[in-house]
């Protein structure tokens, strides 16, 4: 690399300075890489006693009864999935609708205003969404259904939908902004309206981008801690009804660290950590794969 600037071309001190600068930046890069590797290494290290002794079955079980030595995390895995998937199924069509509105289904100025609003939403702290939901959504659910505390799957799912919405909108928006300039002239020449262009041309051309936006949003929904922690009630049981309390893996990690001090419970913590890490890994692989196959096509 940079083989044309060898030591023969420049005085020694200059060569040293160049090398020092390059290697410093390389070390910064390596540290970034090392952080990710360290996270995975720590997760493996601390859950190894469990994995090595073939005790996986005790972890992947339904029972979370710490005082009986049962540390099943299956309810938390189910909790995370049952929250992230419906939140995505709700957020995705909404995000698509909002992006289409901003790109021409709505009037120009309101469209721009909505994009600014969505941008602004990304800067609202997660804990503020959670806080507002505790005092707005929870009493509403309590009044509407007249049973339970309101802290439930439904409350967490609805708030999570609002939280991941801007991520998906901005991703689809970026994708549309790349596709639209390529098709605008042709569609105008064909006499298509804005609506026709968006729905019949841009949308089908953006399939992969839409899929990528969905995957990204799913990753965000799986990884969020504060919304389920503040709103879902946190009972370590399989999610039952929409109004029942449940617990996600992320909230589980936060709760166990905060309350338990016995070593055995920690294993389940790191097992949850590994599952979350592998989910992130899969999400990123999926995105990378979509990206590479898209760039070949366009």
């Amino acid at each position: 690399m940079q083989s044309h600037t060898t030591s023969r071309d420049m005085p020694l001190h200059r060569f040293l300075r160049e090398t020092l600068f390059r290697e410093t930046t390389r070390i910064c890069g390596l540290i970034c890489a090392a952080i990710v590797v360290t996270i995975f290494a720590f997760l493996l290290w601390f859950s190894w006693p469990l994995l090595a002794q073939g005790k996986i079955a005790t972890i992947v079980s339904l029972a979370w009864r710490p005082f009986h030595g049962q540390f099943g995390i299956l309810p938390m895995i189910a909790g995370s999935l049952s929250l992230a998937i419906p939140a995505m199924l709700l957020a995705f069509p909404m995000a698509l609708g909002i992006t289409l509105f901003a790109h021409g289904l709505g009037p120009r100025l309101p469209g721009k205003a909505v994009l600014t609003l969505v941008h602004f939403m990304t800067s609202i702290p997660t804990v503020v969404y959670g806080f507002a939901a505790v005092f707005l959504l929870i009493p509403l659910l309590r009044a509407t259904f007249a049973r339970g505390s309101g802290f439930s799957w439904l409350a967490a799912m609805l708030t999570l939908t609002v939280l991941v919405l801007p991520t998906i909108v901005l991703f689809i928006h970026t994708h549309f902004s790349l596709v639209e300039p390529q098709v605008t002239r042709t569609t105008q020449a064909l006499g298509m309206s804005d609506t026709q262009r968006l729905l019949a041309v841009t949308l089908p051309l953006s399939r992969r981008g839409l899929l990528a936006g969905g995957i990204l949003g799913f990753g965000r929904a799986m990884g969020d801690t504060m919304i389920p922690l503040m709103l879902s009630g946190n009972a370590p049981i399989m999610p039952g009804s929409p109004l029942a309390s449940m617990r996600t893996m992320t909230a589980h990690i936060a709760l166990v660290v905060a309350t338990d001090s016995q070593d055995a419970a920690y294993y389940s913590l790191f097992a949850c950590g590994i599952i979350l890490f592998l989910t992130t890994f899969a999400v990123n692989l999926g995105l990378r794969w979509l990206e590479s196959s898209t760039s070949v096509r366009t």
Partner: protein, 288 residues
């Protein structure tokens, strides 16, 4: 497609947008309405005289001043970790790295960006467990662990911003600098970086905003409800987002509830200001 489908799609898109505007409008209005009246000096300092609180002569018990200081220190230390590392790694990715090395590092940076913040907290927590087992039984989570972990959390934003900004500098500028006899590092430091400064700055502001709002990381790495103003790196500390989270679950009376609304509004204003700063910068970028 038949016209009915078009009309239905348009209707749905208007409806989604309307719902969003109503939800966010209601949320912001609610916070402003409930939190606005609570914002005064006693929200920050409680009964403690302001000057004594600012100079640290008297502790503040019933105000959010310790949480403000905690968040400020946390964000400052996290930025001090993330900015040099992030800009360095961004320069490496944008200017030096090539081929497979670049591809792998870029993937790892993406992975870091996608890592749930609770895992970053778990990293800090596990690191302390690790240190305790191997060396020092007294090791505990503190301001230092928390700010390192928050720094790592926001690192990828700065790396990406730096890399993108460097890569979008016109190629002939780099060539000209090298042709004038500058070395590679001189070209980067004196030509490329100043040109990329606005882009890097917007990445840094984004990172600061994320550092200020994150709750999951500090939850595992040393934040507590009543620590007061921290006096050293190994002290426990308070923080605004944690204070909101704590009060939402544990408030005892109407005063504490009012304080929670005030804190939420203050944090929201803080992140909004950072958001507007990024907006101004990206406007400038577009003009370039």
């Amino acid at each position: 497609m038949n016209p009915f489908v078009y009309r239905a799609c348009t209707f749905m898109s208007w409806l989604c947008t309307l719902i969003l505007v109503l939800v966010i409008g209601y949320l912001l209005g609610f916070l402003a309405f409930k939190g606005g009246p609570t914002i005064n000096t006693s929200l920050f300092f409680g009964d403690t005289p302001i000057w004594d609180a600012l100079t640290g002569r008297l502790p503040v018990w019933d105000g959010i001043w310790p949480a403000c200081v905690g968040t400020l220190l946390l964000v400052g230390l996290a930025a001090a970790t993330a900015i040099p590392l992030g800009v360095g790694a961004g320069i490496y990715l944008g200017e030096y790295a090539q081929g497979n090395g670049k591809r792998i590092l870029a993937f790892l940076v993406d992975l870091l960006a996608g890592t749930p913040s609770i895992l970053m907290g778990l990293l800090g927590f596990a690191a302390i467990l690790f240190v305790r087992r191997l060396f020092d039984l007294q090791a505990r989570t503190s301001l230092l662990t928390a700010s390192l972990c928050v720094g790592f959390l926001v690192l990828p934003y700065i790396v990406r911003a730096t890399q993108t900004a460097l890569e979008s500098v016109p190629g002939d500028l780099r060539t000209t600098a090298l042709a004038l006899g500058m070395t590679r590092s001189q070209a980067i430091i004196h030509v490329m970086l100043p040109r990329a400064a606005t882009g890097i700055a917007s990445g840094i502001i984004l990172a600061v905003g994320r550092a200020a709002e994150d709750t999951a990381v500090i939850l595992l790495t040393g934040v507590v409800a009543n620590a007061g103003v921290p006096h050293g790196l190994t002290d426990k500390f308070e923080a605004l987002p944690f204070h909101i989270f704590y009060l939402a679950a544990e408030y005892q009376n109407q005063d504490e509830l009012a304080q929670a609304f005030g804190t939420a509004l203050i944090l929201l204003c803080l992140t909004s200001i950072l958001f507007m700063a990024t907006g101004l910068i990206s406007n400038r970028l577009e003009k370039q």
